[in-house]
Amino acid sequence: MIKVENLTKRYAGQPAIQDLNFEVGQGEIMGFLGPNGAGKTTTMRILSSFMPPTSGRATVAGFDVFEQSLQARAHLGYMPENVPLYNDMRVTEYLDYRAALKAVPHRRVAERVGDVKELCGLKEVEKKVIGTLSKGYRQRVGLADALLHEPDLLILDEPTIGLDPNQIRQVRELIKNLGKQHTILLSTHILPEVEMTCSRVIIIHKGRIEACDTPENLLGKIRQAGGVVLEAKVGVDNGGEELKKISGVRDVTVDADGDWKIFSLRVESGTDVREEIFRLAIDRHWTVRELTQRRATLEDVFVELTHPDVV
């Protein structure tokens, strides 16, 4: 559905994205992750024909986003970040207007506008002026607009930013349901959201793709280099020194909680040091209240890939 080849965009000589290559297949929900300023919005703007790339090519539904921009745009629904809307229009009026712009056939306008209002829960505000709507409703108007012409591809730039936890859950459900009929490319900062909704994830950092895989695979990679947490009373021992001697332990950080010490161990990939720790604790007569292998989250993947100095 989306095909991106060597896509590069420079602003006044400064590269915003460099040599991006990726593909999004029909029916996929692709998560687009990256710190602020990584180039997510730039990429999405190029894909939605809002601005041309400096070099490289991108196609949407087989149409070049620059050369055949009108056809490409007809196949995609785009929801920009912060959802700019005409504040002077009413919700239904705005959606009618957008439907006509997107060439929804005359006789289907009322039906489509009704459908998207239903889907996005806009019925109760349909007669309101957009300028008076809350952030959550504006977000939904933006989403409704993107869905109006039943596009094959949805590009959503931070669809849940600024929403409260209930609204986030609703939007997430909505996106999941939409994924059954549409291909979706969505960017976000909220990592659990990606784990729950996306079938594949691209992590982008400083304009380059750092990883592109399924959430499970990404987690698998990091879990191998995961950590162990030990909470124990170590008496007169230092604790850290002893733990470091265990083969496979890379380094140990210590926190105190009253008499208890909390050790976070980074271990080499593919090793399980919990048994060794257990034996050590018995030998030294430590009192142990917790010994766990820490489960890595997408957040760890994200931090590891976008903050190399942390590792």
């Binding site: 809002f50 601005m51 009108l70 745009r73 007809a74 700019p84 002077d88 006509a100 997107k102």
Partner: protein, 251 residues
Amino acid sequence: MRKFYTLLSREVRSYFHSPIAYIVLIFFLIISGIDFYFQVSFMNQRQVQYTVEEAFFNSVFFWFAFVLIFPLITMRLFAEEFKLGTIEPLMTAPVRDGHVVLSKFFGALVFYLVLWIPTLLYFAIFLKVTHQPAAHSAGAYFGSYLMLLLLGMFYLSIGCLTSVLTNNQIIAAIISFCAITLLFFLGLVQFILLDVSSATRDLLGYFSAIEHMGTFSRGVIDTRPIVLYMSMTIVMLALTYQAFQSRKWRL
């Protein structure tokens, strides 16, 4: 064509959704009303060689209001969309840049023409009350309003261009006000500078909106100003189109 019509109707509606439209309408009605009243009362006091209609369209009052309304009408056209970011959903919908530019220009033109509709009433009332026509012939009315249309198109297209160049409405208004005022006073240079050659004076006279209005409001339809204003409008809109497209590369 449907997309163009959709864009145009939004442009026109958005004028009437904003308070600026009503302020401009009222301001303009007051000034043109005072203008009409003064002209008629002045002519009641002494013998003059011109008609009420000519006086109305050639007074200082008229020109003052006239030059001022264009920045107010056009400043928001593009600048507001850039500022609010609504340009993004607009240009990611399958619409052509040319349609957007033309819809904004014609939207402004429609509002401008709405401004003038009440002035037709003045002449009707004048006829009803005094049982005298305000002009010698229908051609004079036609000429005046044709000139209004031509000048309006040209000055609105200047406003479009300045609005597309910035995302700040005030800056757009100031630049277009300067440009329109300078162009307008170009025609008056011949009265201010006495030592210019007669050739220069003639040349500048060709660009004088005041002179053109003087001719047309007598009912003399000269084709030269028609060609001038039409072609200048097209040039300005072409520049607007170019500037609008260039935003993609400047981003």
